[in-house]
Symmetry: C2
Subunit: 606 residues, 2 copies
């Protein structure tokens, strides 16, 4: 019953007016040809694809789920055909390296497309995203031979990819994996072990699956420093780079029955002396994986935002359509038996919360994608490095905060529909189930929080945070110089900037506090981590809202967009600053509460 509409205006506005992608693309040789016209055409085409091809098989895909029989995984009706169309449209290779047949498009563009794909059909979206991730890893670390053989096929969607990390006893802690690889006389490796929770580990969408598998050589150092990465194709590939009919010594043992993303195959894979090829250096497997992790984790944020938007669209329509009760100030529609529920402040609270977070979250993913693009494409290596460092700080926040707010939004959307939100028909309960995984996979949100507070903040001694503060200061300085020229909205905006500065001060203070306390008690890092992640999320969402509000005031925006559109953004921003941002104070209190009340209970008393 959901009819997803690609949010192209919002995307255009954020891309061009807020993030100034036109200027950024023009400034870098590798993206110089990515014109506004090209961006518009690609986004529009992607929107049509998501609306017309992926959304229609979302609910049926959930109902049917993937089926498993004797090692063979069958995807739901329509998935194979949709994947073929998706691949033939060139979408899998959109950001792929041009020299291996990819289209070389920037991440800012593909991020928006991924969001739409997740919104329309999260289960489907995972298949091409796993391919993109595997291809990226291979591109960065594979030998020339591996790249020439595998990348063109993966970009074309003829073959697909999977990432094989987790084992039954080793998820977050990959240092203790047991899978083994032994060097063979021909230079290949024999890979043996069991991997679980492997997304797209087996399916029927195309002819071959290229698995990237973490394993240890017998004589490798213990722990994370002894892990290597191997490429293991499902069907062996001959010397000409063509698929053979020879199955590699690996198979799918079963698929998981899950809460959601039920049309995505989550596989147990058994490798039994399968033939594999080393990717990157020996014992550098985790490092290879981590270079790609920033892209994968951004994708999860996109999933959160996309499903939130899908739920918002349905909930907003429902609230305008469903009549029930009367407005507090008297009937607004006296001729009907009741008023539409959009008259109720609490229904508006839910919808505005969804919308304010969706827009800020989308802006944040685009902001992060712009840093990835600069890190990848910029000609100045100082700029590249600075962008790369910002990415490492931003990613855990995008991954966790966008997925938390995305899940909340799906739950709120369901709540707007009351009982109709709980039944399958309207699709909103599926969004809740599908969004839930994004808080868990690719490193749980708790692990992201620890990464942010520990590695990215305490262990960098605040360097990365300082870089973000520089970005913020630059933006604020720009506003000050422009303040005189915009009298209309600028009083309100000036007050928002003051609130924002208070949040920034609070972040600076709690950061020093945790840095200080963690010297004596390392548990202070983990004790602060989740509230700190949420605080950083609020800081960045308010930073994004300031940028959006500033962008609504430019002559260019007034020319391009309707007054209604721009005033809708402003009112949503007003709501954000009035209602959502003040919550930062209780996060500060929580961080200041420290570790004692968490650590006092003996383990056995839980």
């Amino acid at each position: 019953m959901t009819t997803y509409k690609a949010p192209l205006t919002d995307m255009q506005f954020l891309l061009k007016d807020v993030m100034q992608a036109t200027e950024l693309f023009a400034s870098m040789p590798a993206t110089a040809e990515v014109s506004d016209d090209l961006v518009d055409a690609i986004l529009e085409e992607a929107g049509k694809l998501c609306e017309g091809l992926l959304a229609p098989i979302n609910q049926t895909g959930d109902q049917q789920g993937c089926r498993f029989d004797s090692g063979i995984v069958t995807t739901p009706d329509g998935f194979k055909e949709a994947f073929k169309a998706y691949a033939e449209g060139g979408w899998v290779g959109l950001t792929g390296a041009v020299e291996y047949g990819g289209m070389g498009m920037p991440k800012m563009l593909s991020a928006l497309i991924e969001e739409m794909a997740f919104a329309a059909n999260s289960s489907f979206a995972l298949y091409p995203i796993l391919s993109t991730g595997a291809a990226l890893c291979l591109k960065l670390h594979g030998s020339e031979e591996l790249k020439k053989t595998y990348l063109p096929k993966i970009y074309a969607g003829t073959w697909s990819g999977s990432m094989c990390l987790t084992e039954p006893h080793a998820g977050t802690d990959l240092g203790i994996i047991k899978s083994k690889a032994e060097a063979q006389a021909d230079g290949s490796y024999s890979v043996t072990g069991t991997k679980i929770f492997i997304t797209a580990g087996e399916h029927d969408l195309n002819e071959n699956i290229i698995h990237l598998v973490l394993a240890k050589l017998p004589d490798s150092p213990p722990g994370p420093r002894g892990i290597s990465l191997f490429l293991v194709p499902k069907f062996k590939v001959d010397a000409n780079g063509e698929i053979t009919d020879q199955r590699n010594a690996m198979s799918c043992g079963s698929i998981e029955h899950k809460m959601g993303i039920r049309a995505s195959a989550t596989c147990v894979l058994n490798f039994d002396a399968a033939q594999g090829y080393l990717v990157g250096e020996l014992n550098q497997g985790l490092a290879c994986m981590f270079t790609m992790m920033n892209y994968e984790r951004l994708s999860m944020g996109l999933q959160g935002n996309g499903l939130a938007d899908s739920s918002y669209q349905v909930a907003a329509e429902y609230a305008k359509d469903r009549v029930q009760g009367r407005a507090a100030g008297g009937p607004v529609d006296p001729d009907r038996s009741a008023d539409p529920i959009i008259v109720h402040p609490d229904v508006r609270r839910m919808l505005l919360t969804m919308r304010a977070n969706i827009m800020a979250g989308r802006a944040l993913t685009l902001y992060t994608a712009s840093k990835l693009d600069i890190a990848h494409f910029h000609s100045d290596s100082t700029e590249q490095e600075r962008a790369q460092k910002l990415v490492t700080l931003l990613i855990p926040i995008v991954k966790a905060y966008c997925t938390d707010r995305g899940f909340d939004a799906c739950v709120a959307g369901q709540q707007v529909l009351g009982g109709h939100g709980y039944i399958a028909e309207w699709g909103l309960e599926q969004n809740v189930r599908d969004a839930r995984i994004a808080q868990i996979y690719e490193g749980t949100n708790g692990v992201q929080a620890l990464d942010l507070m520990g590695r990215k903040t305490v262990r960098s001694n605040g360097e990365l945070m300082h870089m973000l503060f520089v970005e913020i200061s630059e933006f604020l300085a720009e506003q000050e110089t422009q303040q005189d020229s915009n009298q209309g909205q600028s009083q309100i905006l000036a007050s928002y900037i003051e609130t924002f500065k208070a949040v920034r001060r609070a972040v600076a203070e709690v950061t020093s506090g945790v840095l200080r306390r963690s010297i004596d008690n390392p548990n202070e890092i983990g004790a602060a981590s989740y509230a700190y992640l949420e605080l950083m999320g609020l800081l960045l969402y308010s930073f994004m809202w300031l940028r959006i509000l500033v962008a609504t005031q430019t002559p260019q925006a007034r020319e391009r967009y309707s007054d209604d559109y721009l005033s809708g953004l402003r009112l949503t921003g007003d709501f954000f600053f009035a209602r959502l941002l003040p919550k930062y104070k209780s996060l500060v209190d929580e961080i200041d509460a420290g570790a004692d009340s968490l650590m006092a209970m003996p383990a056995e008393q839980f």
Copy 2:
């Protein structure tokens, strides 16, 4: 994979040591025979039943769901047998009126049993609870003839009950229902209409279903004042009160496919000139329903707490068992490959949040049940009235706050398990799906918030809130007189009492603020409502925690419970006051933000 354990020690502690049920029962003639021994025996037996009979068919029930075929609903394997055993044990009639074959037990006792039933198998629990609700309504409003005919059978579980309120276009707003009832020559009524979302509206658990149906007489006043209540049996009953083989003119049209509680049949019922009998006065149908609503809404709070506890038990065991990574301060279990994840502060944060809210929520449901018992059984009508008024204030908070915190706890429990929380095997994803409905049915939590802020606060001009404040003041005065005798814990406790007083002041202030602002702008009520409900939830949970902490210090508690048990409670309470309660401040900010940012957006811009 879940193995639910009835939390009998916590229940005993709350019942006897915190709520002093022994003394309360002894003080009222109708409950004077409910001795400690009887309570212990009943709770223990109920615990065994939930662990051994209901929990084992919880996961299979979810997998199979209810099946619908040509008007017939088949419950999952084992449900029929389990219901038979449950009914034969006398559990359906536990609180039933003695004069019609019920056991006349207090609600404080049955509340604990309901919580366990919801924890073990929420789908199952709904069947007897609907019967209990229908029986209560009939007991309060039915004619003597109806009571004599139907109550003994419902108490015995031979027949069951359902409540038929919602129609496709009328959920929250029952004033606009379309179902009709026409008086017949024999004194019965002919009932026609379509009802949806009817829990236990059709099933195969026993021989007859007694529907309580809201409908309007042709000449009745418009809106809520024209609604009457009718008893419509599925199979007609003869003059001797025995079931006949004559089907009434009604049938089940379909069942819903839902996110959770999939073994509970949620039915579309079509009444087509079905024979019904008036319950209560004509046009008083809504009032009849509402006298029972307080019990039903308490049940939903129990569902939230129960599922939270079920999730806590699994998550705590998992966290002690699963090894992954190392403690921040160095290995605690150096001989194993990794430490159990309970060493991580953020895992503890999730578990302690669950536990602190489960215990406070359980205390609050018991506190509310004690008021229901006083209202029902007390010999002093002033006491009765006071208790009844407190109930009306407490119920929307219990319904919404316990179910919100219950859902959060189920989500957190799932998160502790990481990927294993997302797959069906461990049962925690089912708890999330099952808990979600409790926030929606029996009046969405948004409707509860509006009821609390509007009807119970603004429209009572703060009278009910004042009564709660009197209860609180009495408790605090007691503590002051006892403070000198307990030096040990009392310094900490005194500081908690100070924080609690600050919360109480904040509640008093925002209450006056909303009362004042709502005079000019009625939307201020709805704008404040949700944050106000959460603020009241925190006030009451902290009130409950104070009572729990005080109870841990009595000589009697020290004698009855182990030091470990009591220190576990104290440490959980410390966590609550350090980490959870400070959030009240941001709720105050949210309330103070007022209605403007919610109401400014024109409806069409959503």
